[in-house]
């Protein structure tokens, strides 16, 4: 499953949530953190963060990720030469 370039909601372990708080993120108790995934590797997801001084990349390590949820749209169909035709 390729997550790079997608916006995902992640359920993190307690340690993962603590790590995010230590990194200065506002992690509410009752909401899932939402990330734009820049890339993934064997260590985890590299996510994009907007901070006061610009864009940062943060590594969310796989060991702290309990689940990842993302929304792919419904299957889309067209025919060559007939763009705009619905499914």
């Amino acid at each position: 499953m390729k997550l790079a370039g997608r916006r995902v909601e992640a359920v993190l372990s307690e340690e993962g949530q603590t790590a995010l708080r230590l990194a200065g993120l506002d992690v509410p108790e009752t909401a899932l953190p939402v990330f734009f995934v820049e890339d993934t590797d064997e260590l985890g997801m590299w996510v994009r963060l907007k901070r006061e001084d610009g864009t940062h990349w943060l590594l969310v390590r796989w060991e702290f990720v309990l689940s990842v949820d993302f929304l792919p749209p419904e299957r889309q169909r067209i025919g060559v030469g007939s763009r705009g035709g619905g499914s």
Binding site: G5, R6, P28, V34, R48, L71, P73
Partner: protein, 147 residues
């Protein structure tokens, strides 16, 4: 006969595209459906934030569809060149698996084969001759070993 082109799994967007979506004022975001509003509430995500996710997902799907369409246009001639009368009938991009599923009509039968999305990206993004050669090999093998 036309070619059916489809995309399963939407697709990624670039960081630059995400920046543009993130910077959009709330009023310009697409309204959520009632189902999407429910999901946003359940997940504790602000509606505007969820709308940005929905928009990113839609843009990603559009990009993938464009990629599949471009590949279909490229393949159409490749298929015809391999065998007179052969026609491309379907190109389905599965972005979750990273594969194109291709169907062509050959001698009243359906020829099915798969092509890796990475190979197509190599060809279109880098103009790689190696990728073109490998794609031709995939096509040759598909035609040579058809049932």
């Amino acid at each position: 006969m036309g070619v059916e082109i489809s995309v399963r799994g939407g697709g990624p967007i670039s960081a630059t595209e995400w920046d543009a979506i993130e910077a959009m004022p709330k009023e310009e975001l697409p309204p959520l459906t009632s189902g999407q509003q429910q999901v946003a509430r359940k997940m504790g995500i602000q509606e505007a934030d969820y709308a940005r996710t929905v928009l990113a997902s839609k843009r990603g799907a559009e990009k993938s569809l464009e990629k599949a369409e471009r590949f279909a246009r490229f393949l159409k001639d490749c298929v015809r060149e391999r065998m007179g009368g052969a026609t491309l009938s379907r190109v389905a991009l599965d972005t979750l698996q990273g594969k194109f599923e291709v169907e062509a009509q050959v001698d009243c039968r359906v020829l099915r084969f798969r092509v890796g999305e990475k190979l197509v990206d190599e060809l279109f993004e880098n103009g790689s001759e190696l990728a073109e050669g490998r794609l031709n090999r995939v096509l040759d093998l598909a035609f040579r070993t058809r049932a």
